[in-house]
C-alpha cells in the first residue's frame, strides 16, 4: 500500500512538474532569459573574430555597461584599433579615433555600417528596448540543440520601428539561456542567425561565452564574439559613461 502511495505521489509530482512547465508562457521565458543574461552592470573583456575573404582579424576590447542604455567600449588590440573608444548613451553613439584624435557622433545611416568590418552593425548594438516591449512572443514548440532541450519562441513585432519583423529564438528549457536566434525580414527571408555556445556558469548564472553572428545572405562563417572575462554587477564609476572619457 505504502509503495503504491509512493508511486502515486511520484507520478503526481512528475505530472505536476510537467504541467507547470507546460504552463510557462513565452513572456515568462523572456523574463527568465532577461534575469539570466542581464545585470545592472557588467565589465566584459572580449574578443571579436572577424573572418574576411583573405584573412581573419581578432579584436580584443574591454566593455563597461550599465543596464541597456549606457555602455563604453575600449579596443585593446590589434595595434591598428588600439585606443579606439565607443560610448553609447541611450540612442546616441560616439566613436573616438586616436589616430585623428577626433570624436564623431554616429547618427542616421552611419549606424547601419558594419562594426570594424564584422557582420554586426552599430545599430545592432543600439537596440536597448526590451524584447517584450516590441515583440509578441509565443512558444511554438520544443527542439533540441546539441544535447540541450529548448523552447522555440516566435516573436512578432508589435511596433513599427523594429529592424526585424520576426525573430525565432531557441531558449534552453533548464538554464534559460538562448542558444540560437534567427532574424527574419518582413518577407519571411532569413537574414541573420546568432548562435550562442560554450554556456558556462558564472556567478550563479548560466552565460554563453561564444556568440556567432552570421549574415545569412552572405557566404562565410560570420563573426565570433568570445567573452574572455565577465563581471556581473560591479561598481562602475560615473565618469566612464561620459564623453570626456573617450579622450582619456
Amino acid at each position: 500500500m505504502k509503495t503504491l502511495l509512493k508511486i502515486s505521489l511520484i507520478g503526481f509530482l512528475i505530472l505536476l512538474s510537467f504541467f507547470t512547465q507546460a504552463q510557462i508562457t513565452a513572456d515568462q521565458v523572456l523574463d527568465k532569459v532577461k534575469d539570466n543574461m542581464n545585470a545592472n552592470s557588467t565589465i566584459t573583456e572580449s574578443k571579436m573574430v572577424i573572418r574576411g575573404k583573405r584573412n581573419t582579424r581578432e579584436i580584443v576590447s574591454k566593455g563597461y555597461a550599465e543596464g541597456n542604455e549606457k555602455s563604453f567600449t575600449e579596443y585593446l588590440s590589434p595595434e591598428r584599433e588600439k585606443g579606439t573608444k565607443m560610448l553609447k548613451l541611450e540612442d546616441k553613439l560616439w566613436i573616438y579615433n586616436p589616430s585623428t584624435d577626433r570624436t564623431i557622433q554616429l547618427s542616421g545611416h552611419m549606424l547601419r555600417q558594419s562594426v570594424m568590418g564584422s557582420d554586426l552593425s552599430y545599430e545592432d548594438m543600439m537596440e536597448d528596448r526590451e524584447l517584450k516591449e516590441i515583440y509578441e512572443a509565443t512558444i511554438i514548440g520544443e527542439e533540441k540543440i546539441g544535447d540541450r532541450t529548448c523552447y522555440v519562441l516566435e516573436l512578432n513585432a508589435i511596433v513599427e520601428d523594429v529592424s526585424y519583423q520576426t525573430r525565432k529564438t531557441w531558449v534552453d528549457t533548464e538554464r534559460f539561456v538562448p542558444l540560437k536566434e534567427d532574424l527574419f525580414a518582413k518577407s519571411g527571408q532569413l537574414l541573420k542567425r546568432i548562435r550562442l555556445e560554450d554556456v558556462k556558469e558564472i556567478d550563479g548564472r548560466w552565460y554563453p561565452t561564444k556568440i556567432n553572428y552570421k549574415d545569412m545572405l552572405m557566404s562565410g562563417e560570420g563573426t565570433d564574439f568570445i567573452v574572455l572575462d565577465i563581471q556581473f554587477n560591479p561598481e562602475i564609476p560615473d565618469y566612464i559613461f561620459n564623453k570626456a572619457s573617450l579622450k582619456r
Partner: protein, 387 residues
C-alpha cells in the same frame, strides 16, 4: 611692308635648317595646343549631351534635404509634392539597399522611376514588358563589376520607411549602356510603384526630372536646379582640367618662343653690317626693326601653314574615329562623365585663336631683341663693330 615680308621670307628660306627647326617646333606646339583644346571641348560637349539625355533632363526639382554629394542625406530626403504632379516632371525615389550577388554584399542605391517616362534615355519601357516580381535595369558598369547578366535573379535587402528589414529577389531584365556613370555604377533602377510598395513611401520622390516644357515656380520644401546649373559643375571640372593641361602647352610654346628669341639675338648680332647697309640705303631704324620683327613672326606664319598641312589629316582621323579611353577611367564613377571614345571638337574658332596666339607671341619675342637695332650707331654697324 611688302618689302619687309619679301626680305623676311628670303632671309628665312636662306637660313635653311635653322629656320625649319624653329618652324618645326612651333608647328608641333601649334598642333598640340589645338589637339588638347579640341579634346577637352569634345569631352565637354559629349559629357553635356549624355548627362542631359541620361541624368539631368531639362532640370531637376529636388527635395530640400537631398544633396547628391552627401550619401547620408539620401535615405531621409524624400517627400510628396504639394502641388498636383505636372506631366512635365518624372519622379525618382532613391533608397539605400544591399544586393547579394554570389554571397557578397554590395551596397547600392535603388532608384524608382516611372516606367512611362520619356525624358531620360533609360530603357524604362522594358518594365512593362517584364513579368518579374521586381524587374530591374542596371548599367553596363554595374553589370561588369558584379558579373551580372540579363535574366539573373539575386537577393535584395532594404529597409522600409520604419527601418524594418525586408528582402526579396529581383530580376535583371536589361543592361543599358551609357557614358554617365552616375546613373550606372552601384545602382539599380526599378519601377517607382514597386519601390513605393516596398518602402511604404507611396507617392514620394527624392527629385523630379523636368522635361523641356516644364516651367518652374517655387515650391515649398523643394529647390530647383536648372539644366545650366546642373551642367555647371561638369564645366567647372573640365575647365580645371583645361587649366592644368595648359601648363603643358605653354611650356612647349615657351620652348619654341625661346628658340625664336635666340635666333633673333644671334641674327641681329651676326647681321650688323646688313643692318648698317639698310640704314645707309635710306631705311629708318624703325623700318629695320620692323623688318627683323616680321622675319621673326614669319616663323609662326610658316609654322601655322606647316601645322595645318600636318595637322589636318591627324585632326580628321581623331575627329572621325575618336580617342579610346581606358576602362579604369570609364568604368568607375569618377564624378564626371567620360565617354568610352572621345571625339575631339576642332572648331574654326579654336584653330584661328591658336594661330593668333602663336603669331602674336612669336611677333612679341621677335620684337624684343630687334628693339636694340634702334639704339645702334649706323656707322659702327656698317663697319661691323660689335655694339
Amino acid at each position: 611692308m611688302k618689302l619687309a615680308f619679301q626680305l623676311a621670307y628670303k632671309n628665312l628660306v636662306g637660313a635653311g635648317l635653322r629656320s625649319w627647326l624653329n618652324v618645326g617646333i612651333l608647328a608641333f606646339t601649334f598642333i598640340v595646343i589645338i589637339f588638347f583644346n579640341a579634346y577637352l571641348d569634345g569631352w565637354n560637349l559629349q559629357a553635356q549631351r549624355e548627362s542631359i539625355k541620361w541624368e539631368y533632363g531639362h532640370g531637376q526639382l529636388r527635395h530640400q534635404d537631398y544633396d547628391p554629394l552627401d550619401p547620408f542625406s539620401i535615405n531621409e530626403a524624400h517627400g510628396k509634392l504639394n502641388t498636383p504632379l505636372s506631366e512635365n516632371l518624372t519622379a525618382v525615389l532613391i533608397q539605400q539597399a544591399s544586393l547579394y550577388p554570389e554571397g557578397r554584399m554590395v551596397s547600392i542605391l535603388m532608384k524608382g522611376i516611372d516606367s512611362d517616362q520619356k525624358i531620360l534615355e533609360l530603357p524604362t519601357e522594358a518594365f512593362a514588358k517584364s513579368d518579374a516580381n521586381i524587374p530591374a535595369l542596371i548599367g553596363k558598369r554595374m553589370a561588369s563589376s558584379n558579373k551580372l547578366e540579363v535574366g539573373d535573379q539575386l537577393l535584395l535587402r532594404w529597409r522600409d520607411k520604419n527601418g524594418t528589414f525586408d528582402a526579396t529577389e529581383i530580376t535583371i531584365i536589361e543592361i543599358f549602356e551609357t557614358d554617365v556613370t552616375s546613373v550606372d555604377a552601384g545602382q539599380i533602377w526599378i519601377p517607382i510603384e514597386r519601390l513605393w510598395n516596398m518602402t511604404g513611401l507611396k507617392g514620394e520622390a527624392t527629385y523630379f526630372i523636368a522635361s523641356e516644357k516644364y516651367s518652374h515656380s517655387p515650391v515649398d520644401k523643394w529647390y530647383y536646379k536648372s539644366q545650366a546649373e546642373l551642367l555647371k559643375q561638369l564645366q567647372e571640372i573640365i575647365e580645371m582640367k583645361s587649366a592644368s593641361s595648359s601648363i603643358l602647352y605653354f611650356l612647349l610654346l615657351g620652348i619654341a618662343l625661346l628658340a625664336i628669341f635666340d635666333t633673333q639675338v644671334l641674327s641681329i648680332f651676326r647681321r650688323q653690317k646688313e643692318i648698317g647697309t639698310y640704314i645707309a640705303l635710306g631705311m629708318t631704324r624703325w623700318q629695320v626693326v620692323q623688318l627683323f620683327t616680321v622675319e621673326g613672326s614669319m616663323y609662326s606664319i610658316l609654322a601655322s601653314i606647316v601645322g595645318t598641312i600636318i595637322g589636318i589629316p591627324i585632326f580628321w582621323y581623331f575627329s572621325t574615329y575618336g580617342i579610346g579611353m581606358p576602362d579604369y577611367v570609364t568604368q568607375q564613377d569618377m564624378g564626371v562623365t567620360i565617354a568610352q571614345r572621345i571625339y575631339p571638337a576642332f572648331t574654326i574658332g579654336l584653330i584661328m585663336g591658336t594661330i593668333a596666339l602663336v603669331v602674336l607671341s612669336a611677333t612679341i619675342v621677335s620684337f624684343i631683341p630687334s628693339r636694340n637695332i634702334a639704339k645702334m650707331d649706323p656707322v659702327d654697324a656698317l663697319k661691323g663693330k660689335v655694339q
